[in-house]
């Protein structure tokens, strides 16, 4: 036992798998303590806030200010208003409308000068509505750039309490009362993506674990029975498993989840359903292993000694296939997680918005077209974490295989 463990710990595959898994697990467990609160709380009102650090504009007005005279501040302001692409478009329009100018358009200041001088005339030319609106937006931003050096902020209730903000005013992020770090932004409902993601990973792990346990126990039970007893018991069980093999498991899963109805679809019910539809391959492999075991000498000896069926199975057969069962269990867990993700993606997962699960997050991200409107943070981390969990479980499995399976042993 000890040497097997040692071997396992020396297996690079097993270790990468284990470490990846532990990292995910620790994140899932620890993160809620670092950032407490309900993972389903909607903090953003809109959809898909970009990842980043958000600080309260309201609070920053009254925060202690420093005056910093940065030489390139205006330049940056300009660059934020018109980027290189905008400048290229401006140049193109000036050339297209054959506007006369005398100077170098690559000089941004000059470009803007020519642009503003001729803007009204240029906009008279025929162009696509999308282009026209694009130029209008550039013009609007340029107008904003020209605003005065100072801005006034009033209290809505009393105009006496005005605050002046100048272009050289800066506040330290740490000094602002309300700063929110959103490492992965917000998702479609305006929830903290990272917090929800890790909570969902936790749920998915639980679903996988339960599905794995159900599938493995059932598979083990029927496999042992069928393999050891043989005869009609074997026939019946094999008939059932063959049937399951012929009907694609996932289709079955979809049908069962659909007929359960949304009311009944809690995460744990889904897990049980997944387990109930995926036990057959475990049963079949356990059975074939048991068949090869049941005529071994030590089993026969037990039989002759009059040991009960339960005892023979538990002491003479189970220990020999234990390593295999553990590996099968790991695979069941990983396929359970995938099955939940797939089901939820189709909208057949656990009931919406009471529990976060990875599949549900993908489902909602897709409903809100995250994948087509460039909100990568709303779906890519989900895929990544699903991949990380299943990859780690499979790596562990392969590593164990190499240790336990004599045929693969180095």
């Amino acid at each position: 036992m000890k040497s097997t463990l040692k071997q396992l710990l020396h297996s690079p595959k097993f270790m990468t798998g284990l470490i990846t898994f532990l990292v995910v697990l620790i994140l899932v467990i620890v993160y809620p303590f670092i950032v407490p609160g309900d993972p389903l709380e909607r903090i953003g009102v809109g959809t898909f806030a970009k990842p980043g650090i958000y600080f309260s504009l309201y609070d920053s007005v009254t925060t202690q200010r420093e005056t910093l005279k940065l030489s390139n501040a205006d330049e940056k302001r300009m660059a934020a208003a018109v980027d290189e692409e905008d400048k290229a478009a401006m140049k193109e329009l000036i050339k297209k409308t054959e506007t006369a100018y005398d100077g170098d358009l690559d000089d941004t200041v000059f470009l803007i000068e020519v642009w503003e001088e001729n803007y009204d005339a240029m906009m008279q030319t025929k162009m696509k509505s999308a282009d026209k609106k694009y130029y209008q937006r550039i013009q609007k931003r340029l107008e904003a750039l020209k605003s005065a050096d100072n801005m006034l902020v009033y209290d809505e209730d009393s105009e006496d309490s005005k605050t002046t903000i100048t272009k050289t005013d800066y506040v330290r992020t740490g000094a602002v009362a309300n700063v929110k770090v959103l490492p992965l932004g917000t998702e479609n409902f305006g929830r903290d993506m990272l917090k929800e993601l890790l909570a969902a990973a936790g749920t998915s792990l639980k679903i996988g674990l339960l599905a794995g346990i159900v599938a493995t126990l059932l598979g083990l039970f029927f496999g042992l029975l069928s393999g050891y007893l043989g005869g009609w018991v074997d026939e019946v069980i094999m008939f059932i498993t063959t049937m399951f093999t012929v009907i694609p498991g996932f289709v079955l899963l979809i049908l069962i989840s659909y007929s359960l109805g949304q009311e009944a679809r809690g995460p744990m019910i889904i897990a049980v359903v997944i387990g109930l539809t995926s036990w057959t391959w475990t049963a079949r492999s356990v059975r074939s292993q048991v068949i090869s075991l049941r005529n071994r000498d030590h089993v026969n000896l037990s039989k002759i000694s009059g040991h009960s069926l339960a005892r023979i199975i538990l002491t003479d057969i189970l220990p020999y296939i234990a390593s295999y069962v553990v590996m099968a269990f790991i695979l069941q867990v990983s396929s359970g997680i995938l099955a939940e993700a797939q089901l939820s993606l189709l909208g057949l997962g656990p009931k919406t918005t009471t529990t976060p699960t990875l599949g549900l997050m993908m489902n909602w991200a897709m409903n809100y077209s995250a994948h087509t409107n460039g909100s990568w943070w709303a779906y890519f981390p989900v895929i990544f974490i699903i991949a990380a969990i299943t990859f780690s479980l499979n790596q562990m499995n392969t590593g164990m295989d190499q240790v336990f399976n004599p045929a693969l042993r180095d």
């Binding site: 959809t47 949304q262 396929s335 995938l338 087509t372 460039g374 299943t390």
Partner: protein, 649 residues
């Protein structure tokens, strides 16, 4: 074995990514798969529904696959490779294979045929007038000049344009107009169910003059002149000779006529069928179209072909739209502005800023009056309605494609200026709410004696905890988001509201059942905009006519009864005095905001209309001064855009 299992699992992991990518990238058109496409199509569906409901026409959401081989009619074989610069591609107007080309048959999802009061598609078949929802005007199409009403509004005379001709070269006559109604009534199609009770018959005075005789009530006053206006823009005029032929070959059997495939149909519009199959529907321009006459458009429409590929779902449509494979797209796209702001695509909408489209609809949460606790407690209804976080619904579910209830205070009217002017804003000011009023809601409930007496955090009524369900169809994501927000308002004020999302095919019959007690709060849209607006919508909110009606597709799904409101609603169609009309609508608004039988959750465009200018340009835009509504270039007066399109360079 284990290796294979491992491989299989890794493959599955790859597939998760692939599924997501495929859903985005799959632009292969295929016939609609209900189970999968439901959630995708969802966001768009309500709009379709609204327009269909507006005429109360029998409709089938999914098309029945046609059994006949879809062979191109052109002799040289199919023009499957349509020249891009002669074709306008559409998206979001047709799901599934075309069933028939029969304009008097059951309404089906034929891209060319959609006869609704909010704007019939007039690309193949034509109505007498075209509705322009931008100003509420009726523009003559087959008709010549405005309709003339008799003083008592019991008859209406419509002249037909001299130039108007059928595709077989024969003139469009008053006989065709009269026969259309006659046949409709005989076979009981959508036209008959919607308008049959309000128009007795159409008299043929001469070849080009038709007189509508309106049905009168007991007092000898026309029952409903407003709906007759809807008829003018909603009902296609069909050729009498062709209808005779159809009736004859079906032995006058109504159901057979309704199902007739109409391969030989005669049309009057600028386009006709080229071919349709399970991939796409293509219409080709009829270069003999009568409308090129100076008395109508004076020209032919610009594109030679109109094509609509059959996409699997909204996501596929969106991808094709972004790639420039679709020019005009009728689909809700969340954060549509990202397409031009972030991705710099040549895509635009009617307005360059929020709400991007013209909002005419008001998806609404209905209180079910069959539930005693709801029916007996105005305070409960109002408390829930004022506690809801509407800004969150508008910003999140609609991604700001709706004006807020601060900009357009709630009433019975949609946000158009014409409707807003129909009620006295100051008179109902104190009754309106913009939401998020948790304290006010709590106070209302406390005053009504609905309090938490057993300290479990939830309020009780008559000793029983109040438990309500907020329901909308599954997969209609923006509506679901709205229901979630309603539910969280309940939590804030101590009324338990849970959400429930049944499938749409279960949900719709449920809410149309006048006795249902399963859903306490449920979501649906009243009528959008038509010549009969806002009357038709207000009917939908409060009319007693719809109470107790089985398979009720028209309105008042919450079974609200108010006799004063009902009397006013009965009177409005015949009111001609502007002040009197305004008073009536103001009073109705007062009643509505006091009794809170339902509460609108957002404003919503009747047509989502986004265009990609890769190939074509000069689409309607808010600032172009042309007064063409953004109606996908095919609906109502929106078709004018087709005559003014230009090729982009």
């Amino acid at each position: 074995m284990k290796m294979r299992k491992l491989l299989a699992l890794l493959l599955a992991a790859v597939m998760v990514c692939a599924t997501l990518a495929a859903c985005g990238g799959d632009s292969t058109p295929s016939t609609s798969k209900p189970a999968e496409s439901q959630s995708e199509k969802a966001t768009e569906k309500p709009t379709e529904k609204e327009s269909e409901k507006a005429t109360d026409a029998p409709s089938s959401e999914e098309a029945q696959p046609s059994s006949e081989e879809a062979q191109p009619s052109s002799e040289e074989g199919p023009v499957t490779d349509l020249p891009r610069e002669e074709t306008v591609y559409f998206g979001g107007l047709q799901w599934g294979v075309v069933a028939t080309w029969n304009p008097i048959g059951v309404t089906q999802n034929n891209f060319a045929i959609s006869a609704v009061a909010s704007g019939s598609r007039t690309i193949m078949f034509e109505t007498l007038y075209m509705y322009n929802f931008m100003d509420g005007s009726l523009q003559p199409l087959l008709a010549d000049g405005d309709p003339e009403w008799s003083d008592d509004m019991s008859t209406m005379t419509v002249k037909i344009k001299e130039a108007a001709k059928w595709s077989d070269g024969t003139p469009v006559t008053a006989t065709d107009v009269a026969k259309t109604l006659e046949v409709s009534k005989a076979i009981g199609n959508g036209t008959a169910t919607t308008y049959g009770a309000y128009i007795d018959d159409i008299e043929v005075v001469d070849e080009k003059t038709a007189v509508f005789h309106l049905a009168l009530n007991e007092e000898g006053v026309p029952k409903n002149p407003l709906l007759v206006k809807d008829y003018l823009v909603g009902v296609y005029v069909c050729q009498a000779a062709w209808m005779d032929k159809v009736c004859e070959r079906n032995n006058n059997d109504a159901s057979a006529i309704l199902q007739d495939k109409a391969e030989d149909v005669v049309w009057s519009g600028p386009y006709t069928r080229l071919y349709d199959n399970d991939q796409k529907v293509v219409l080709v321009r009829d270069d003999n179209y009568w409308g090129q006459d100076e008395s109508m458009w004076g020209t032919l429409p610009a594109p030679k072909y109109l094509a609509h590929a059959l996409y699997a779902d909204n996501a596929a449509t969106e991808v094709a739209f972004k790639a420039g494979q679709i020019d005009v797209n009728q689909q809700f796209i969340g954060n549509v502005q990202k397409m031009w702001l972030d991705e710099k695509l040549p895509i635009s909408t009617y307005y360059d800023d929020e709400p991007y489209g013209v909002c005419l609809g008001m998806p609404t949460g209905w209180f079910n009056m069959n539930i005693p606790v709801i029916a007996e407690n105005v305070a409960l209804r109002k408390a829930i309605a004022i506690a809801v976080d509407y800004p969150a619904i508008i910003e999140n579910a609609m991604t700001n494609q709706s004006p807020s209830f601060e900009d357009v205070p709630r009433s019975l009217m949609n946000p158009t200026a014409g409707e807003q002017a129909l009620y006295d804003h100051d008179a109902v000011k104190d009754l309106q709410w913009a939401g998020n009023d948790i304290e006010g809601a709590k106070k209302l409930l406390d005053e009504a004696g609905i309090v938490d007496s057993d300290n479990d955090g939830w309020r009780e009524y008559k000793g029983e905890k109040i438990t309500l369900k907020a329901v909308c169809p599954n997969g209609w994501s923006d509506w679901q988001a709205a229901m979630e927000i309603v539910a969280s308002a309940g939590k804030e004020i101590g009324v338990e509201i849970t959400t429930l999302y049944p499938n749409a095919d279960m949900y719709i019959p449920d809410i149309q059942d006048p006795d249902q007690k399963d859903y306490e709060i449920f979501m649906w849209s009243p009528a959008t905009a038509a010549p009969s607006s806002p009357w038709a919508r207000v009917m939908g909110f409060m009319s007693k006519d719809y109470v107790g009606v089985k398979n009720n597709g028209s309105g008042n799904w919450g079974q609200y009864v108010n006799d004063e409101a009902d009397a006013l609603l009965k009177k409005i169609p015949t009111i001609t005095d502007e002040k009197e009309l305004k008073d009536a609508y103001t009073r109705l608004t007062e009643i509505y905001l006091t009794d809170v039988p339902s509460f609108s959750l957002m404003y919503r465009p009747a047509f989502f209309d986004a265009v990609n200018e890769t190939v074509w340009t000069n689409y309607p835009s808010a600032d172009d001064g042309r007064n063409i509504p953004p109606a996908n270039c095919v609906s109502g007066y929106g078709i004018r855009a087709l005559f003014e399109l230009e090729l982009a360079d």
